[in-house]
């Protein structure tokens, strides 16, 4: 909001923009946070699934920390963990948004064959990461240009 203040006895008038900038910042953080949440969910859900280990290995990590993921059990079925991985990631994005994104935030997976799933010619969903990143990039770039 842009506030107009009139001084005592109407001697002076001020137009204060500080709250306007605060509101713009909040809106941009909100939009960007929402876009990141959708992007994270898209990356997780579109990761090709065999046991679900790769899909559920995605983490949102802050300040260059390594993602913590359990060792793969070849007989295991990880597909029931997908929703909780997404929710945990979204919670971290939301916490960072409330603080004004003070730290470096990364979507990360330690799975060594993630590159093959993304780039391999036999992968069932090639370029799933690039697709989510492009969508986020276009959205966030749109917010920056339009301011909303």
């Amino acid at each position: 909001m842009i506030r107009r203040k009139t001084g005592k006895k109407a001697k002076n008038v001020e137009v204060d923009f500080s709250e306007a900038f605060e509101q713009i910042k909040k809106t941009l953080y909100k939009k960007t946070g929402d876009s990141m949440k959708i992007g994270f969910e898209s990356i997780v859900r579109e990761t090709p699934v065999k046991t679900g280990y790769a899909q559920t290995s995605w983490r949102v990590v802050v300040d260059g920390n390594n993602p913590i993921v359990g060792i793969k059990d070849d007989e295991g079925d990880y597909t029931n963990l997908t929703d909780s991985v997404i929710e945990d990631g979204k919670k971290i994005i939301e916490e960072m948004r409330k603080k004004g994104f003070p730290s470096r935030l990364v979507f990360s997976s330690p799975v060594p064959y993630m590159g093959r799933l993304e780039y391999g010619h036999s992968s069932r969903n090639k370029f799933f990461i690039r697709r989510a990143v492009t969508k986020m990039k276009n959205e966030i770039s749109g917010f920056k240009k339009k301011g909303y």
Partner: protein
């Protein structure tokens, strides 16, 4: 498939003169991969499509794509032939503006990823992004 995708794949098909056979496995053509043959495996994925103008029904659209041009190389043959093939792909697509009958394509820099074993071949992932404006 959209005409945008068909035309740029046609451009690749018309201009690829190197020994690797183009394997159209991602376009409903079955290929019986031979271990003594190199292959180029193209695939295209639409990354995003954005309407740029209002009213939407007649506004311009920007479409972003990623194109994979993976090389399947005979195992244990080193990288000298791969370098030749990559140079050919660079000459064809890297940062190029390419016109076909109906579209103009703007290409980003070509990227080559770390290779890995894939059956009887060594797979070298190569990719490039491009965008097209269309009505």
């Amino acid at each position: 498939m959209l005409l945008i995708e068909r035309e740029i794949l046609g451009y690749l098909n018309d201009n690829w003169t190197q020994p690797p056979t183009i394997a159209w496995t991602n376009f409903n053509v079955s290929v019986n991969y031979q271990s003594d043959q190199d292959y180029l495996v193209p695939f295209i994925r639409n990354l995003d499509s954005v309407i740029l103008e209002i009213p939407a029904n007649c506004g311009a659209v920007r479409r972003d794509y990623a194109m994979g041009l993976n090389l399947l190389l005979r195992e244990n043959t080193g990288t000298s032939s791969a370098n030749t093939y990559v140079t050919a792909l660079l000459n064809l697509f890297d940062r190029k503006e390419i016109s076909t009958d109906n579209y103009e394509y703007s290409f980003s820099p070509l990227e080559v990823g770390p290779g890995f074993g894939q059956g009887p071949h060594f797979e070298l992932p190569i990719s490039i992004d491009f965008f097209v404006y269309s009505s």
